[in-house]
């Protein structure tokens, strides 16, 4: 921990002179002077923007690039022990988890009328003490990933996008029951928002922009599934059998869906329907207990409705989802299933997410989202003695608050999330300081509390602190 704190301190020392160097000679801020008619205002204060000739020239293709370089330190700082079962405990030592340099590149180029190419990717270098460094045998490791990569063609009322992309449904921010199309990866505790966890997939998306309403339809040509935890990450545990991706064996699987959306005065509504695969694979023990765990996929039908309503500075959100033939036990993992849990039992499920966003002024915003789901006909198909993993109403809640200070340069944000049963609570506090148009620095504190009824029991009393410094251009 001490080494971690030293590194964090080094970053702050590094950053502070940058911020201070921008402070020019402090002018008089007295209100009386400013109100005097003798005070001269000269808009050259903001540079000679009017002296520059209008730029109607062809843009260089290089101008389509946006680049962000970031260095992140993150660690669990609370030495403690966790007792998931009575009499069974294990230590949780304070240690560095993330020490990594990231490069994110985004490119967008409308290279011809009606055509657009968009791509984004990231690379990470894992330094000493990063969990990926340790998992790599104590050697520096690197990883590359393509995120978006699509070609768009728009003509008349239509737009087609071919390639890797995301499709987002639902109005509730952060925990919508309709936001299930793309698979997700919460790789470690630095990613707790679904907006950061969503992964792109190979799709064709067709948008039709009608006079009064819009249609958006997609075909996912290569459905992917939530990846298993990366070895060494806080979410990784040594399974009895290796958790592998779904083995397609030549299967041509696909997903398809469509959404109709219309805006009214102060309100938007949409209806949707889709044939999907559950993003979470179901793992079973291998045959004869030899080899890797068996990954099973499950297809289901989703019907949904979403709406919002603006009332002054309050925005109400509502989502409704009906899922036909979802697995009642899709979080099954080899070695921990029991005969009390049903296997391969398909159920219908209804879910809703609703909440509000409220901005009392220009600096503060508050949002609340509640997600609640229920398996229908719970007892149907259960053998004597079996019970569902999720009985009754289950779900989560999410509260986000942010406040802006120092002329929009400092943002204080907090997130609280937990399950409806009150078994766990994750609290996050972050401070983001924009040094200038290129440099930002962010610090986060994340605390988790849980009882043994929640999977988060393995992170009970964890306290993480971290900082990230970024340069964008």
């Amino acid at each position: 921990m001490s080494r971690f704190c030293k590194r964090a301190g080094l970053i702050l020392i590094f950053v502070t002179p940058i911020a201070l160097s921008q402070q020019e000679e402090e002018p008089n801020l007295g209100g009386e002077d400013i109100l005097s008619d003798e005070i001269i205002f000269d808009d050259n204060l903001f540079g000679n923007v009017f002296d520059e000739s209008p730029n109607n020239n062809e843009e260089s293709w290089l101008e389509g690039f946006t680049v962000r370089v970031s260095q992140q330190f993150y660690g669990q700082v609370n030495n403690h022990s966790v007792e998931p079962l009575p009499g069974f405990s294990f230590p949780r030592k304070a240690e560095m988890e993330n020490n990594r340099l990231g490069l994110n590149i985004r490119y967008q180029n409308a290279f011809a009328p009606g055509w657009l190419l968009q791509a984004s990717g990231q690379t990470r270098a894992y330094w000493n003490e990063d969990y990926e460094y340790r998992a790599n045998g104590g050697k520096i490791d690197a990883e590359y990933r393509v995120n978006e990569f699509f070609l768009q063609r728009s003509f008349e009322q239509n737009s087609f996008k071919f390639g890797r992309q995301t499709v987002v449904w639902g109005e509730t921010v952060g925990n919508s029951v309709l936001d299930v199309i793309n698979h997700i990866e919460f790789r470690d505790m630095t990613i707790i928002d679904i907006e950061d966890a969503r992964l792109n997939q190979w799709m064709v998306v067709w948008d039709y922009f009608g006079e009064d309403s819009n249609w958006s339809s997609f075909i996912n040509l290569y459905p992917e599934f939530n990846p298993a935890p990366v070895r060494g990450s806080p979410f990784f545990f040594e399974p009895q059998f290796n958790l592998t991706d779904y083995k397609r064996d030549g299967d041509a699987i696909f997903e398809v869906g469509t959404q109709w959306r219309k805006s009214f005065d102060l309100s938007d509504i949409s209806f949707m329907a889709a044939y999907l695969y559950e993003n979470q694979l179901r793992y079973e023990d291998p045959i004869n207990n030899i080899g890797d765990a068996l990954a099973k996929k499950n297809d289901f039908i989703l019907l949904g409705f979403s709406a919002n309503r603006a009332i002054g500075r309050l925005l109400l959100n509502f989502d409704l989802a009906f899922s036909h033939n979802v697995l009642a036990d899709n979080f099954n993992l080899p070695g921990i299933s029991s005969l009390a849990s049903p296997l391969d039992l398909e159920k219908d499920q209804i879910g809703t997410s609703f909440g509000f966003e409220w901005a009392p002024d220009n600096d503060q915003s508050l949002s609340l989202g509640i997600q609640a789901q229920k398996v229908l006909d719970e007892d149907k198909g259960l053998l004597p003695g079996q019970q569902l993993v999720n009985e009754g109403v289950f779900g989560s809640w999410l509260v986000r608050y942010s406040n802006i200070f120092l002329n929009n340069d400092l943002t204080l944000a907090s997130t609280l999330q937990g399950d409806l049963e009150g078994d766990s609570l994750l609290a996050m506090l972050s401070v983001n300081y924009t040094i200038d148009d290129n440099w930002t620095v962010e610090a986060q504190v994340i605390s988790i509390n849980s009882n043994s009824n929640s999977p988060l029991i393995f992170f009970d009393e964890d306290l993480r602190i971290g900082t990230t410094i970024s340069y964008s251009f």
Binding site: E24, D43, V67, V168, E195, N214, G312, R313, D437
Partner: protein, 297 residues
């Protein structure tokens, strides 16, 4: 992170900044402000603007207003068009060009002239992956109207029309910035007073060019809380307009300058461009923007 308070720059910028040609002189305060308002709407109809929005903490050094810190600068492109039977409503879309971290952030806004009807705003953020409605609503004397892109300009400062909701008095004829001006006072009636933070506004209108050169905004306690300064008054398409507007917040000592770097009006803008499609369909947006740019040459 994008401020929750950012708000689309509507095409109809600032009640007092654009004006028509010289008219007769036997005008009362309402007549003058009505002419300014009408000219403003005309100047913004079917327009394409490139703007630079700069904000900083300010102070006074050697008798001059200066920034106490490096200004934060945003580059924006905005397209606006008027609608409705008398072209009193405005639809506009604004795209952020710089800084890099906010590039591509787009906002669509429908500003309605009708009394009591809330304006509407939608935002597109690539991180969200979808169009999102923003509840901006009306403000009141206790709550602050939504800010424009985190600047000191607010939605209330951008509103046009609704002059009937004010008592408008011509106070005197005087001079400011070396120009002969009418000093006009606007006091909201009871219903309007419930929706505004300003209990009184004073505008200085150039008598020759019908351009507002300065405005003072007072709170419910009679204290001046904001001041708007206009400069670089130029004739654009036969309409005098101020290309540089600076809003000084006298409570926070922060100012924002909006520089209209390029202004083009009377363009052929497709109605479909001022819809949510422009936010999500980048191929369409860029094609239509190219068509607009072609009209500029």
């Amino acid at each position: 992170m994008i401020s929750r308070g950012i708000k689309l720059v509507t095409g109809s910028i600032f009640l007092i900044t654009f004006a028509g040609n010289t008219l007769g002189q036997d005008l009362n305060g309402f007549d003058i402000m009505k002419l300014v308002d009408d000219a403003q709407r005309a100047a913004n109809d079917s327009s394409f603007n490139r703007m630079q929005l700069s904000s900083c903490k300010f102070g006074v050094t050697d008798g001059r207003i200066t920034c106490a810190e490096r200004p934060r600068v945003k580059s924006l492109e905005s397209v606006a068009k008027n609608y409705g039977p008398e072209l009193m409503d405005t639809k506009s879309v604004t795209i952020t060009i710089e800084p890099a971290a906010e590039r591509g952030v787009g906002m669509l806004s429908f500003a309605y002239d009708e009394t009591g009807r809330d304006n509407e705003t939608w935002l597109y953020l690539s991180a969200l992956g979808r169009v999102k409605r923003i509840a901006s609503g009306d403000s009141d004397e206790e709550t602050e109207p939504a800010s424009l892109f985190g600047s000191e300009f607010t939605t209330e400062d951008t509103e046009t029309g609704k002059l009937e909701e004010y008592t408008i008095n011509l106070l005197e004829e005087t001079t400011t910035a070396g120009r002969d001006v009418w000093k006009i006072e606007m006091i909201p009636y009871e219903e309007r007073a419930r929706k505004t933070r300003y209990s009184r506004q004073v505008h200085y209108i150039d008598k020759e060019r019908y351009v507002g050169l300065r405005s003072e905004m007072y709170d419910q306690y009679g204290k001046e809380v904001k001041r708007l300064m206009a400069s670089r008054v130029e004739l654009v398409n036969d309409i005098w307009m101020a290309r540089s507007l600076t809003m000084m917040n006298l409570v926070t000592n922060r100012l924002s300058n909006m520089a209209f770097v390029e202004i083009y009006t009377d363009l052929d803008i497709q109605d479909e461009f001022l819809t949510q499609r422009t936010l999500t369909d980048a191929a369409y947006r860029e094609t239509e923007l190219e068509n607009l740019r072609a009209q500029l040459n």
